[in-house]
Amino acid sequence: MAGWLVLIPFIILVLMNSPVRRIIKHAYFGLLLVFLSWQLGFTIFGSQRSLNLGNNSLAPWLKFQLNIDSLSVIVLAVISLAGLVSLILAQVLIKENRPRQHFLNLFTIAILGMNAVTMLEDVFSLYVFLEVTAVSSFVLIALQKNRDCLEASFKYLVMSSVATLLLLSGVALFILTCSGTSFAAISEGMAFAGTSPWIKVALGLFTCGLLIKSGMIPFHAWVPDAYAAASDPVSVLLAGAVTKVAGLYAILRLVIFVWGFSPVIEQTLLFVGALSVVGGALLALAQKDFKRMLAYSSISQLGYVLLGLGSGTMVGVAGAIFHFFNHTVFKSLLFVNAASFKQHTGSDDMEKLKGVSSVMPCSSITSLAGFFSGAGIPPFAGFWSKLLVILGLWEASRQGYAVIAILAGLLTMGYFLNLERKIFLGGESVEFKKHKVNNTIVWLEVTLALLTLLCGLFYPYLLEHFMLPAAASMLP
């Protein structure tokens, strides 16, 4: 089962680039749609039966060391959700055949890389598949070949390569001290000699590398340019899947399963998380461009995940994982809104959005749903996940950080209110292009808005079946 999630994208890619494609010319989109829906369905319905199957191998001669457990299930759902939204948006927005073929090729490789990152058990394979995801992201950002996206792609390339090199030096030091690179060998080595300076240096380098990849402050320089300059389907994929899986999921997996919660790790995570939450919110207040504001907002929300993780309690970690999932839903919704607004007004500038609610009522109302969930207003899902994080921080007697989280929630409300004020109360100051609203985008927005509302209303069910089992594996 785990192996198929990695092999099927590879087979689709090879098939669609071989001479066979002339026969099944328009099937690329359909094949990917079926595959991602199957992945989503597997994580929601089938996961209860087939967790921890032991040796997840397809054939005796094919030795993939892949393992799906409760944390991987949630992240696989996140990847398939962001992938589906990005795929449908690309089908609507990219109209010519050639660019669509390019996009779908690289999209398949990105999905392959992220699926593999979710399921693997070895630190060096983590490096390999992080690079796979990163290379496909570089090319995806540079797809339109105009000034902004090439510059953003190069900046991302340089910072990602530096992060990779720091990660690799951590791996080399792990080989030195723990004589192996699999997760089991490293946790054994850490239990055996956890205080030697080699291991501390290795941990520090590794964490720095992963924090650069996840775009936390002070390593966030590539995030706004990459999100704003990329085309809309690519922005959805980046914000909803790549940054989170490549950076944050790796930190989650390593801290919960491999390294354990020592005070130094907790302190670092809390500090970086608090910096990101406050810094991201403050920088988002000053933005005039819609997608740049959403990028800084992403940095802020992902800081909440680090805060929840750093609290060290089960409630906090469950809240962090829940917020990981919620962020995908409402951020994808907001990016789809940005795409539909751009079709109407022609640019991403927020000044041009004045009074657009009279012309596009559906997009405006669903952007309200995204705003409520992001700012943490009940009964939307964002409220519960942020509440759990703050409760976890309080329980771990880190009241200072809990207060910072609450204050940053107010800042979040600030910049979102700014946006909604422009959309709803701006008055007709700009001539809007007479554009027929695309039905597919409307359906997509409504589905995502309903999803975030339902996740908020049914959150006890989600917590009990998905988040708490994942958080419970942190107990020894």
Binding site: V128, F138, A142, L150, S153, F154, K155, V158, A172, S179
Partner: protein, 107 residues
Amino acid sequence: MIEQSVINLFGIFGIFVILVFLVGIYCLLVTFNLVRAIIGIEIMTKAITLLLVLVGYVTGNSAFTQALVITLIVIEVAVIAVAGGIVISIFRIHGTIDTRKLRNLKG
């Protein structure tokens, strides 16, 4: 757990590795030219390759680290190829690869 001779060996070659890494970072930070930035990344990668081979020699399983080094080199080639492609595309659009003239994206 790690003997004294290992630390001696590391003391000499470790300083060398750190030196090369710092040279790479200096090259990356100081340059105004995109191609030089890629050369800086390459120099840092050489330092990490040397570190991996060193660790393999010290712990004895050099076969394992050689496999890792080979994988690393393959991935590096892919990244350098894409970086070169991006630089050539930037040149085709702008006519320059000087970062002082490319300050389009702010913030």
